[in-house]
C-alpha cells in the first residue's frame, strides 16, 4: 500500500457489493418467510430462483412476449410453482423430522436442475436486455447499471413485502403461525393456507431475484449456487429474522465484493464461509435469530 489506499476504488467495490447484497437479502427474505411459517429450511431456493430465470427466458426469448408481460408472467407462474411444491412435497412431510424435510428440498433442487437441463440444455444463456444501460454515477463512483437497478428493484420489493406483512392481516396470521401453530389453528387461522401462501410468496420473491441475477450474469443450470450464499445470509442473520436476512444479505454481499477485489475472485467463497464460521462461533443462532431453532 505504498501508493496509498484507493478510496474511490474501495467505494465502487462496496457499492457493487451492496448491489449484490440487495439480491442476497431478497433471496434471504424468501427463505426466512418459508422458515418462519413452516419451519422448513428450503435448500432449493437457489434452484427455484434459477427455474424462474429460465421461465423468464422462455417467455421473452422463445415466446417473444414484451418484457413487462414476461416479468409479470414469470412472477405469477413461479408463485403457482411454489404453491405446487408446497402442496405436493412439503405438506406430506408435515410432522416428519426436520432433517427429512430438509432432504426433500435437497432432492427438489436436483429435480429442478434436471428439468432445466432437459428443457434448455446445460448451456449458459443470456437474458434480453431490459434495464437502462447507461453507467450510473454516484458522486465520483461509477456503478454498473444492472447492479444499480437490481439493487433498486430489490429494495423496492423488500419494502413492499415488509409493508404488506406489516399491515395486512395475512401478515399477522403468518406471525401468529410462526409463533405457535396450534394456537393459531384454534384461533381460526387457516394454518395450511398460511403454509401454501408462504411458499407462493417466497417463490414470487425468488422469481424477481432470479430475473435480476440472470440479467446481470446470464443464466445457466448452475446458477442455483446463488442459493448457497443465500443460506449463509440467513444463517448469519438468524433463520427466523427478517431484519437478519436483510442485514445479513448486505454484509455477505460486501464481504464477497471486498474479498473478490482485494484477494482475488477465488477467495470470494472462502470469505463468505469464513464469515459464516465466525458468526456461528460467536452467535450460534445468527445475529438476530431467536434461541429455539431446532438442530438439523
Amino acid at each position: 500500500m505504498s501508493e496509498g489506499f484507493d478510496w474511490l476504488f474501495f467505494f465502487e467495490i462496496s457499492l457493487a457489493g451492496l448491489g449484490s447484497g440487495g439480491l442476497l437479502a431478497l433471496a434471504g427474505l424468501a427463505l426466512v418467510i418459508i422458515y418462519k411459517a413452516t419451519r422448513v429450511v428450503n435448500l432449493a431456493i437457489g434452484e427455484m430462483l434459477m427455474m424462474s430465470a429460465y421461465l423468464f427466458f422462455a417467455l421473452t426469448a422463445s415466446m417473444n412476449l414484451p418484457v413487462w408481460v414476461a416479468i409479470v408472467g414469470t412472477i405469477l407462474s413461479s408463485g403457482v410453482l411454489g404453491a405446487l411444491i408446497e402442496r405436493s412435497m412439503i405438506r406430506p412431510m408435515l410432522g416428519e423430522s426436520p432433517i427429512s424435510t430438509f432432504m426433500v428440498t435437497v432432492g427438489l433442487s436436483s429435480v429442478l436442475v434436471g428439468l432445466v437441463e432437459l428443457i434448455w440444455t446445460a448451456d449458459p444463456r443470456r437474458l434480453p436486455e431490459f434495464m437502462p444501460t447507461d453507467p450510473v454515477l454516484l458522486g465520483p463512483a461509477m456503478v454498473a447499471p444492472k447492479v444499480f437497478y437490481g439493487f433498486l428493484i430489490s429494495a423496492a420489493l423488500i419494502a413492499v413485502v415488509l409493508g404488506v406483512f406489516r399491515f395486512w392481516r395475512g401478515g399477522v396470521a403468518l406471525r401468529a403461525t410462526a409463533s405457535d401453530q396450534a394456537a393459531a389453528y384454534s384461533m381460526g387461522i387457516n394454518v395450511p393456507r398460511v403454509f401454501s401462501l408462504s411458499w407462493t410468496v417466497a417463490a414470487m420473491i425468488a422469481a424477481v431475484a432470479g430475473i435480476v441475477v440472470g440479467a446481470i450474469g446470464g443464466i445457466s443450470s448452475t446458477m442455483g449456487v446463488f442459493g448457497l450464499s443465500t443460506l449463509v445470509v440467513v444463517i448469519v442473520g438468524g433463520l427466523d429474522s427478517v431484519v437478519g436476512a436483510l442485514l445479513g444479505g448486505l454484509l455477505v454481499g460486501l464481504v464477497e465484493a471486498w474479498a473478490g477485489a482485494y484477494l482475488g475472485g477465488e477467495y470470494k467463497v472462502i470469505a463468505t464461509f469464513s464469515l459464516l464460521l465466525l458468526v456461528l462461533l460467536v452467535r450460534p443462532y445468527g445475529l438476530f435469530g431467536t434461541h429455539d431453532i431446532e438442530r438439523l
Binding site: W168, R169, R175, S179, A184, S186, G188, I189, N190, T290
Partner: protein
C-alpha cells in the same frame, strides 16, 4: 349445545378415547376430570378439531362438525385455551387478544389495500369492543402493552382466556385453567369462569385437576379413565361414585394389598 357421540380416537393400537359420549348443556359449566392419561386433553383436541376421531360424531348446536377443520370450528364459536399456555410470544397482550378476533374479521388483502377506510373502521370497532369488555372484565388493563413472554404464569393464563373470549365463542373450552396457580390466583380464575357464564352467557367446558374448584363451579361433571366415561352427573353424584374413587385411589382392599406385599417380601 355440544354433543359428543360415541367417539373413539386411536393412535396406532392405543385407544386414547373409547366410545366416549357426553353432553354439554347450553349455559352450563361442564367439567371433565380423570387421572393423568385418561384422555382429557385428547378429548379436547378432538372437539377443537386437532384430531380426527376414528368413529363417532361431534355435534355443535345440532350440526355435525366431525369433519370440519379447526379454523371453521373456531368460526362457529368454539374457543379454547391450552394446558401449557400457547400465547404468541413476542407479541403484546393486546396483539394476542386482537388475534382472537381473527376468525371474525372479513377484510381481505385487496380490500385492505383499496378500502383502507372500511378496514380501519372495522379495526376501530374491534379495538373498542375488546378494550371495553374483555380487558376490563379480566382485570388486565395494566399489562395491555406488555410483552406476554415477560408476564407471570397466572397472568399469562388470564391473557389466554382473554384471547379465547375475543373470539366471541359460544362454548369456551379451558384446558386446566388453574393448573400451577396459587390459591389467590385460583380464586380469581374461578370467579372469572363463573362470570363468563353468568354475565356473558357463554357455555364453559373445562378440564381441571383442582377438585375443590371443579366441585364448586360445575353443574355437570364427566369422569374419564383409560379413555372411557366411567361416571357423569352432578358434582355430588360423582364424588360418591365408587368407580371414581377407585380410578383415583386405585382398586383393592388396603389390608389385602399389605398382605400381598409382606408375602412377597418374606423368603419362601
Amino acid at each position: 349445545m355440544l354433543q359428543i357421540e360415541d367417539v373413539t380416537l386411536a393412535f396406532g393400537g392405543v385407544r386414547a378415547l373409547n366410545g366416549v359420549s357426553l353432553q354439554v348443556a347450553p349455559g352450563s359449566i361442564t367439567s371433565v376430570i380423570g387421572p393423568n392419561g385418561a384422555g382429557k386433553t385428547s378429548l379436547f383436541n378432538t372437539i377443537s378439531g386437532f384430531y380426527r376421531p376414528k368413529s363417532g360424531a361431534i355435534l355443535f348446536e345440532g350440526q355435525d362438525i366431525t369433519q370440519r377443520p379447526a379454523p371453521q370450528r373456531a368460526k362457529l364459536g368454539l374457543a379454547r385455551s391450552f394446558q401449557n399456555i400457547a400465547l404468541f410470544r413476542g407479541m403484546t397482550v393486546l396483539d394476542n387478544i386482537k388475534l382472537g378476533r381473527h376468525a371474525h374479521l372479513k377484510t381481505n388483502l385487496l380490500q385492505a389495500l383499496f378500502y383502507a377506510g372500511a378496514a380501519r373502521r372495522e379495526e376501530a370497532a374491534l379495538r373498542a369492543d375488546i378494550e371495553e369488555r374483555i380487558i376490563d372484565f379480566l382485570e388486565i388493563d395494566h399489562i395491555r402493552h406488555a410483552s406476554v413472554a415477560a408476564l407471570p404464569y397466572g397472568l399469562q393464563k388470564r391473557v389466554e382466556m382473554a384471547r379465547a373470549l375475543a373470539m366471541q365463542p359460544k362454548v369456551l373450552m379451558l384446558d386446566e385453567p388453574v393448573a400451577g396457580m396459587n390459591r389467590e390466583e385460583t380464586e380469581d380464575m374461578a370467579r372469572f369462569i363463573l362470570d363468563v357464564r353468568d354475565e356473558w352467557g357463554i357455555t364453559v367446558l373445562m378440564v381441571e385437576h383442582d377438585m375443590g374448584m371443579v366441585m364448586d363451579l360445575s353443574d355437570h361433571v364427566v369422569v374419564l379413565n383409560f379413555g372411557q366415561v366411567i361416571a357423569s352427573g352432578t358434582p355430588k353424584d360423582v364424588q360418591g361414585n365408587p368407580e371414581v374413587v377407585k380410578a383415583y385411589l386405585g382398586s383393592g382392599d388396603v389390608a389385602q394389598l399389605r398382605r400381598q406385599l409382606t408375602g412377597a417380601a418374606s423368603p419362601t
